[in-house]
């Protein structure tokens, strides 16, 4: 009998606690529902005009604007026209001042709206660029990847695409499509690393120069970030490799050299980001300041640009470390390419030491004064 009553009591207690918990839970859920509704307006601000408006509404608005632009009668329909319409709309709605992710969302929605209304496909990604953009692709025996690389580039509102082929024994030349925007340059002999990009930069006419390699395919959406960064006033837009780096103890010589160069030039915030890594973009001002010949040695161009006070940033991170095609020359510790890049960094340091002095940005406070500061009693 005693046992039974105990059990009953236990059950009753459990039930009571259960019901009370349910009640409390319900109350919490209801209140949380309210709070979520209230929080909707407190999104991080995305721009002056769009502060407080969620991305979903921006998307819908962009889609509608795109569809309206395509529905205007009389005008010709096509990607260049869409680009012009988007630019006007973005300026009017101040979408061009949004951070890149929001801008890209609007741009893609606008494109969908326009394509839907005009019944077109394979449209460009419209971008609010104030100046003309050129892309420079260097390739040597890349018939496998080159078409995909060019397909991504053609999605962007570029003024021209310059393909510099050198030392190709395969069908690289023929796989490059005939497109009014593409300029093909072909050199029978190998030019060596980064010489092709300097040649491409020399003949490019745009104010934004986007550099990529023919051996790795980077999505057009990622490349757009470099164009936008330059258009907004930066001079060097570098690929942010920091998320893909191992801890310092496991980093290779090249990464350390890159970080040291930036540090020595007074830009520790650039970490190990370098013009050596593609994709990257330069402004016309940067090319004019450092000279096309300096682009042959990317760290040298970067060092000269930083020393001469140009603005550098790393707008987006594209994982090129894993995508990079492995060859015997670029894999393993102390490989030929790595040694060449270390040499590039030494050349860059030597070049800036000529004008800035041997100690560059590091203070020239004497050892004696330093001892006074540190050990004074």
């Amino acid at each position: 009998m005693v046992m039974v009553t105990r059990q009953k009591m236990k059950v009753r207690r459990k039930r009571r606690s259960g019901s009370s918990a349910r009640l409390r839970g319900g109350a919490i859920r209801r209140s949380s529902g309210f709070s979520r509704k209230g929080r909707r307006g407190v999104r991080p601000s995305t721009g002056r005009r769009y502060a407080g408006i969620p991305l979903q509404r921006l998307k819908a608005k962009a889609w509608a604007a795109g569809a309206r632009a395509a529905a205007q009668d009389g005008a010709e329909k096509g990607s260049p026209q869409m680009q012009a319409c988007f630019q006007a709309w973005a300026q009017a709605e101040r979408v061009d001042q949004l951070p890149f992710t929001a801008l890209l969302t609007a741009s893609l929605a606008y494109r969908r709206g326009y394509a839907h209304a005009a019944g077109l496909s394979k449209m460009w990604i419209p971008l609010p660029l104030k100046s003309r953009a050129s892309a420079i692709v260097t390739a040597s025996n890349e018939e496998q990847t080159l078409p995909a690389v060019l397909a991504e580039l053609r999605k962007l509102p570029l003024h021209e695409i310059i393909v510099v082929l050198n030392g190709c024994d395969d069908a690289s030349f023929t796989v490059v499509d005939r497109d009014p925007r593409i300029t093909r340059l072909s050199f029978p002999e190998r030019l060596g690393h980064d010489v092709g990009r300097a040649i491409g930069a020399a003949i490019a006419t745009g104010d934004i120069l986007l550099f990529t390699d023919g051996d790795m395919c980077v999505a057009a959406e990622d490349l757009a970030a470099f164009l936008i960064a330059i258009d907004r006033g930066e001079d060097l837009a570098l690929n942010d490799l920091t998320p893909h780096l191992p801890p310092f103890s496991q980093q290779d010589e090249v990464t350390r050299c890159k970080a040291f160069l930036n540090l020595a030039l007074g830009h520790p915030e650039l970490k190990a980001n370098s013009l050596t890594a593609v994709p990257n973009a330069l402004s016309r001002r940067a090319v004019r300041t450092v000279g096309t010949a300096a682009l042959i040695v990317p760290p040298k161009a970067q060092a000269l640009a930083l020393v001469r006070g140009l603005k550098a940033g790393a707008p987006i991170s594209v994982d090129v470390i894993r995508k990079n095609r492995l060859r015997t020359s670029n894999s393993g510790a102390g490989n030929a390419v790595a040694r060449m890049i270390v040499g590039d960094h030494l050349e860059a340091l030597g070049e800036v030491m000529k004008t800035e002095g041997v100690r560059l940005r590091f203070s020239t406070i004497g050892r004696s004064e330093l001892a006074k500061v540190r050990n004074a009693r």
């Binding site: 060449m340 030494l346 330093l370």
Partner: protein, 312 residues
């Protein structure tokens, strides 16, 4: 047992007429009064967690050998707190040694203390810094092995002997293989500079080892080869030692990062800004500059057949 019970009885026996309270009560009351007086005075309680009282240690006087094999060089500026212990450990490193303390810019009696300990003291009135201090010490050194340590951290003699032994067995420059903290993605500027310099000197096996860090030892040949002037810029001395074909080896790890007292002022975000960082990083650039002068604008690294003439 009757015998034992009788014994017990004898023990407890009290003479009749004088009871226990009659004899002892006055004595006890006086005792308690005294206790009260003491309590009112609040005699300090004995604290068990107190540090033992620091007594001046009886230091064996250093003996500078007339014909030394090992010269121990210690630059010091205002290091009264540690110099005696540093000298005690230095004296235990090698039986035939001399200890040279380069006292520079001191105002706290470091020189007198070092002399009292028996070291050979070089006085310089103005502050020199570690590196110039080492050079001044090296000028005066007579041994075949030069061991460089600092006066602000006490390193036990058993941690110093490996450096001396390495130089005695054929190494020219014996480095501390301590590389500094390298766990994060971004290393301290000085750590980065050391790694980069060793890398461009094609000695990645040295990792972050450097002549900037103590303790390190050099042979007489090494000092003559790199020159005394180069000792004032330690990374330059290391670059010269490696490039001129000396046997440079990391021989032993002494984690000096933990022993080094924190210095410098507190900068932004509570981090410490030490002016030494910029000096050491600049020293590494000087070393790289020397390498570029020696090996051409690319420091001896190839261009992998770049056709630079194609670009106008």
């Amino acid at each position: 047992m009757p015998h034992s019970s009788g014994q017990l009885y004898v023990c407890r026996y009290q003479p009749p007429g004088q009871s226990y309270t009659e004899v002892y009560a006055p004595v006890l009351s006086r005792f308690w009064e005294e206790i009260d007086v003491v309590k009112k005075r609040k005699r300090p309680r004995i604290r068990l967690n107190r540090k033992p009282i620091q007594r001046p240690k009886v230091l064996p006087r250093l003996v500078n050998h007339p014909d030394p094999i090992v010269s121990i060089i210690i630059p010091a500026m205002n290091e009264r707190a540690t110099i005696a212990s540093v000298l005690r450990e230095a004296g235990l490193v090698h039986p035939r040694s001399e200890t040279i303390v380069v006292v520079n810019g001191s105002t706290d009696g470091t020189a007198e203390l070092a002399e009292a300990c028996g070291a050979h003291v070089i006085h310089v009135p103005e502050p020199l810094g570690h590196d110039v201090g080492r050079r001044v010490g090296a000028e005066a050194a007579r041994g075949q092995v030069l061991l460089f340590i600092d006066a602000d951290m006490v390193i036990p003699a058993r941690e110093l002997r490996p450096f001396v032994n390495a130089v005695l067995t054929g190494v020219d420059v014996a480095l501390n293989s301590y590389s500094g903290p390298v766990r994060g993605k971004v290393a301290h500027p000085v750590v980065l500079a050391k790694h980069v310099l060793n890398g461009v000197l094609q000695r990645p096996d040295l990792r972050g080892a450097s002549l900037t860090a103590v303790p390190h030892a050099m042979s007489r040949t090494a000092v003559d080869t790199v020159g005394l002037d180069a000792l004032e810029v330690p990374p330059l001395a290391l670059a010269k030692a490696i490039r001129l074909g000396l046997n440079v080896q990391p021989v032993h790890t002494v984690p000096v990062g933990k022993l080094n007292p924190a210095r410098g002022r507190i900068g932004k975000k509570g981090s410490r800004v030490d002016p030494l960082t910029a000096l050491v990083a600049g020293d590494h650039l000087e070393a790289i500059h020397w390498l570029l002068l020696q090996q051409g604008p690319r420091g001896g690294y190839s261009d992998l057949g770049r056709q630079r003439g194609k670009v106008r």
